[in-house]
Structures are given as C-alpha cells and as structure tokens.
Amino acid sequence: MTERKRGRENVSRQTMSEQDPLERIANFYEVPYGYSEDQAVREAMRCFQCKEPKCMTGCPVKVNIPWFTRLIAEGKFVDAAKKIKESNPLPAVCGRVCRQEDQCEKFCLRGKKAQPVSIGALERFVADYEREGGDVSIPDIPKWTGKKVAVIGSGPAGLAAAGDLIRRGHKVTIFEALHVSGGVLMYGIPEFRLPKKIVEAEIDYLKRMGVEIVLNAVIGKINTVDELLSDGYDAVFIGTGAGLPIFLNIPGENLVGVYSANEYLTRVNLMRAYRFPEYDTPVLRGRKVVVVGGGNTAMDSARTARRLCPEEVTVVYRRSVDEMPARAEEVRHGREEGVQFLFLAAPTRFIGDREGRLKAMEFVRMELSEPDETGRRRPLPITGSEFQRDVDVAIIAIGNDVNPLIRETTTDIQTNRYANIMVEPDTAMTSKKGVYAGGDIVRGGSTVILAMGDGRKAGKAIHEYLTGEKK
C-alpha cells in the first residue's frame, strides 16, 4: 500500500483508449478498451476518500464508491468487484451505460476544481477484471425463507430486483417474454456499446446465485399476475419495460423503410441482422439514413446505421445540440464515426415511390422560443421553411408508450393518465397487494440505472412485506 496521501497527488483523470473511428464503423466491437491495471490504480488514487461521500448520494443503487476505489488503489481488484456487487449485480453493464456524469461523478468533490474521479470506468474495470479472470465466485446465500417471488421481465429493473431478493434468501423466478434474458440490454443497446457476452455473464452470475429464468413467457398471456399470486408466488415485481413505440403521426409513416428505433435495434442487436444472411433476420440498410430524435436511443440507432455502411447517416433533432438528451460521449462518438446532425428541423411527411418504399422526407425548420415545462426551450416551426431530402431508411427514436398486456389482464393495478403503473415512491408498491413495479413501465422512458434503482427499492420493500421485518 502506498504511503502517499491518497487523492492528493495531481494526476489528471485517466482516459480509456478507444478503437479508431475509421476502423470501428466497419465492425460491431466495443469502442472503448477499458483501463489497464496501472491506469485503474492511478485513477482510484485520485479519490479523496471522503468521510461523507457525496458521490453515493448520486447513485440510484447506492454502490459504496469510496470503499471500492480504495480496494482498487490497493490493487485488490476482485474484492472491489465483490464490494460493488453487494449493491449492484450488473457492474460491467453499469460501468458502461450509466450516466455517471449526471449521477455519482456529478457529486464527486474532485470535480469541483478538476475533473471528477472516473467512477464508471473504474467500475467497468473491476467487473471486467473479475470476469476475465474466469473465477467469479458467488456470495453466500442465506437459508430459504420459504417465500417465492415472481419477477416479470428480465431487463435492468427485474435483474436488480431478482439479485436483491435472492441475496435475502427468497426464491426468485423471472418470466421473460423474449427468447433471451436481459431485456433492453440485449435488444436495445448495441453490441459496440455493451457487448452481449458481458450481459450474458452478469445474468449467469444471478443464475448461479439461484435465480430461475423462464424464457418465452409473456405474462398477461400465458399467465396473469393473479394466477402467479395464486400459483404459489408470495409477491410479484413488474418490470416489463418500454412498450409500443411512439410514431410522429405524419403522412407516409408506414412506408417501407420507416422503422421505430425499437424495431431497428431489435433486428440488429437481438436478431443479429447485421450478420444477415448468416442470421435469418434482415434489416434494410439504406443509402441515406435519417434518425429522428435526440436521445441515447437516437444515437444508438445512428451509430448502428453507420456500421451498416450507408452513404450517409443524419440525426434530425427539432431543438439544438444544447438541448439533446443524449450523453455527450455518445454524441462525440457519433460525430467521430461520421454521423451528421441536422438541428432545429422536424419531419413533416414521408414521401414514397410507387412501390410504397421511402424515397424522401420533408422537414420544416424550427426556432426555439421560451422554455417549456421541462425547462428546455420550446421548438416552433417556421412557416414556409419546408425542404426535402432524399432518404431511404428513417428511424423514429422519439420514445415509447406503455405495453398494454399487464394492464389489460390485471385491472386492479392503478395506472396514471399515460397508462404507466402507479407506485408508492419509497417502496415501488402498486395499488395491488403484494405487487410491486419499477423501470420504464412506471417511469415511461428512463435509464438502465434508474430501473435498477427501482428494482432494488422493490427488493427491499418486498423483503419487508414477506418477512414483516418492518411495519
């Protein structure tokens, strides 16, 4: 262990090296390479080891950040990984896709005067280190409490809830609608941002702890929530995620070549259409691709499209770059890869050829007026500023509605006017006894880590409900 006082030396933030942009647009391999051991130790030393760590207040799953950075600084990488997993079963995932700049790193004291500690990159490093070492041991699981919990959906919310509950000694069965588990981590986030092998490994960790996963099981169809409760499950957690994609509702939207981001990404990520015809699911690659939207899903779609080799990929966003909800890092990566941006413009119609295939789009220029309820400046169309562009693939990435399957079959779960399930904020409890919910089905479009935070919150509340340990 070093004698120097940690956190005091003036090293600057370590950056991960990345795959060259020209190379990476020809493959689906991950973009950043991750820290070397040396870099990780140096970065971890930058942590002040605050007595009252502010960073933890920014973490939805309350990872003990100073503890694990200290372990890294001491070279105890595997112990650091284990420490994180006490509160987060998916560190390799979160290290990659969390918005650390808006969460833990935003509160880092280092960040007051210099750049904050790169907490995300460190989390990723230890998780990768442990996994690549091949010896991921599982923690001791307490004796079975005699209680069984059904988790609906194996996305981030469901996995976090399952991890929490299994560590508290309950039996957990996850029901997943698709043929693989992971939810948005598998169908939504692209391989080059989150390699699927890593997701599989983290899910495997949960399985080894005893979590049972039933694939191809659509709750609301094969079973209802009530049936689960009468079939011997003592509690249910609903984490069914994003529902039907929202479309623009403008003429021509059902032309061939107009995709929702959900469909486009599912075809490429989950069904591996980028390897068609080796894999059977096709996707239209297009020559001139337009992505509509300004969030991370828009960036994922644009960067995916870039790798399918069209001549041109343009992100069209109705506000300006400053209002983009996407992570700055995603936008930077997109720019490096040659993604074009068209700000302050919105589509007004899709134009097809005689066979009903998309051939052009019409847009209108926008200007920003006063801020709306979200605090962002409201975009207004400029009359008479319409213009057209040749486009043969368009991807609509403007958000999702709610999946109706649970609501339709479980009428005593209260929903709000957007049809999202309503929960008590502290416990994730729904209006139905023994039923909890979290993630996008509650929040509408949100993030992986907030969904995981909901899952953990529900895990704790379900535990208290089942054991009567509180109340």
Binding site: A177, L178, H179, Y187, L215, N216, A217, V218, K221, I222, N223, G241, A242, G243, L244, P245, F247, N249, E253, N254, L255, V256, G257, S260, N262, E263, T266, R267, M271, R272, F276, P277, E278, Y279, D280, T281, P282, L284, E355, G356, R357, N403, P404, L405
Partner: protein, 284 residues
C-alpha cells in the same frame, strides 16, 4: 425446446405439426397465434394456433413453405424440436352468438379460420363455410371444416374441385340470397380478404379479417406489425390479429409485407445453395 410430436404433409408445400407446449395448449383461444424461432440463427415468425389438445399438451400449427424459415420448418419431422415457441399472443376473437356467420378460408388461411369456425359453432352460430385454394392439391382441412360447419362450399381457381372460381363468387351469391348473414370471418391471402370486404361492404355486413404482417417480438414492443385501420395506426400483435376488414388499409399492408422481398430471395438462394440437392429431391 419444443418437440414436434406429429407431422402430416397436407400438400406439396403445406404441413401440419402438433407441437408439445402444454401451457399454451391450455391457455390459447381461437384467433390467437404463437411466434416461433427454429434455431439460434433463426428469425421470429408468427403462426396461428389452429387447434390444441389440452390432454396431450399439444398445439397444432400449419405452415406453408414460402420463405427460408417456413422451408426449414417444413424440413422438420416428428421427434425434431423447435427452439423457441412463445404464446398465446394476440387477442382472442369475440365468439358471441351472432346468428349466421360465414367463415371463409383461402389457401393456408383455412388453418386460422378453422378454430374460429369451431368457436363460432360452439357459441351457437349457424356456420356457413367457404374454403378455397388455387387447386385441389392445395386444399386443406376440408373434412375438419365440413364437420364444424352447417354448410360448406369449396372453390378452386382452376376448377379441379368444387366451384370453378373464387370464394368471393360464392360469397356474393350467399349475401345476395335469402339468408340473413350477420357476420363474416375471412382469412387468406391479402387480395382475397380485400376482395371479400369489397363484397360485404355494400351490404354493411361486419367482416372480420385476420392480418398477417411481418412481426419481430410479437409482444407490443417493436411496431413492425403496424397497420392503418380506420385511419389510425394499430399494432396487430397486441390489438389484433383480427380487425374489421372494412377499415383495413390492405394496399399498405401488402406493400409492407413485401419489405424484404430482395432479402428473402437472397436468403432462399443461400438455403438452396447449401442444401440444394435435398430441396430438389423433395420437389421432384
């Protein structure tokens, strides 16, 4: 893994399978479908559940070889397994007692119309069925449909069996005739369903059609199956698959179903290239 416990070749390119899926067998209702994926590299395709045997724990599906996936399915035999089967998906059809119901099945569409006819019969309707095919060899489920119908008509395009012509000609005679028709259910190729709707529209007879768009997840997540119905976007996987045919934009759906025409051709060529002799053998 879902075992095929029975297979019967119904025609040259059409086969019936009974697949072990006890839970789906127990839950399914007429009008619902499953999504299958044959192997690790496979795509997800929807297939109607034709019948189910709760005791045996099986569901019946019928598939026509029209592309790579259905061709690979056609290669499977009793004892083989399908990697993934998920369902029952979609909404069941309303099976009230409407009075007199006409059930029209065209080609492979007779497979999905059969459980609908069964359910309508069970609900107390007078069921008149019209089944059609291009030629006698492609006609399926005629005995089953006969058993479940009060009256049945058969039409073949080439006149090799039954009425020489289209199902819509028989339908036209029926709706112009003395019997009061309360509802029509039609499943078949899109041009057939469109033609059926054109016959019933002037008579204002409610006509339910079962749509077969391209799907990916089939659970209301991707939006691939969207169709304009009554001027609004609807998702066939969660809102359907049955809709009031008079409101369906058939032309749009026909165009959308041709989305991957080139890719499908490419996939078939690939399949023929790798498995050429086998395909030729079977077809000769």
């Amino acid at each position: 893994m879902f075992e095929i416990v029975y297979k019967k070749q119904l025609s040259h390119t059409v086969a019936l399978f009974r697949v072990k899926a006890p839970k789906i067998a127990e839950k399914r209702k007429a009008g619902q479908f499953i999504i299958i994926r044959i192997n690790e590299h496979g795509e997800r395709i929807p297939l109607t559940i034709v019948d189910a045997d709760i005791k045996e724990g099986t569901i019946t599906i019928i598939s026509q070889e029209v592309g790579k996936t259905t061709e690979m399915l056609g290669e499977l035999e009793k004892g083989d397994h399908i990697l993934d089967v998920v369902g029952p998906l979609g909404k069941p059809i309303p099976t009230d007692n409407f009075g007199t119901a006409i059930c029209i099945g065209g080609g492979i569409g007779t497979a999905p119309i059969y459980p609908i006819a069964q359910a309508l019969k069970a609900a107390g309707n007078k069921v008149i069925s019209i089944v059609g095919a291009r030629t006698k060899d492609l006609l399926i489920l005629e005995p089953e449909m006969t058993k479940t119908s009060d009256e049945i008509f058969v039409a073949t395009d080439d006149g090799s069996y039954g009425h020489h012509g289209f199902v819509t000609q028989i339908l036209g005679r029926l709706v112009d005739g003395p019997i009061r028709v309360d509802i029509v259910f039609a499943v078949g190729p899109l041009p057939m369903m469109k033609a059926v709707c054109n016959v019933t529209r002037p008579h204002k007879i409610l006509t339910m059609v079962s749509l077969n768009p391209i799907m990916v997840d089939g659970t209301g997540m991707c939006g691939a199956c969207r169709v304009t119905i009554g001027g609004k976007n609807r998702f066939v996987c969660v809102d359907g698959p049955e809709f009031n045919g008079h409101e369906v934009d058939f032309d749009e759906l026909m165009r959308r179903n041709r989305s991957y025409y080139n890719e499908e051709k490419m996939a078939m060529e690939e399949l023929t290239y790798h498995e050429g002799p086998r395909c030729y053998e079977r077809n000769s």
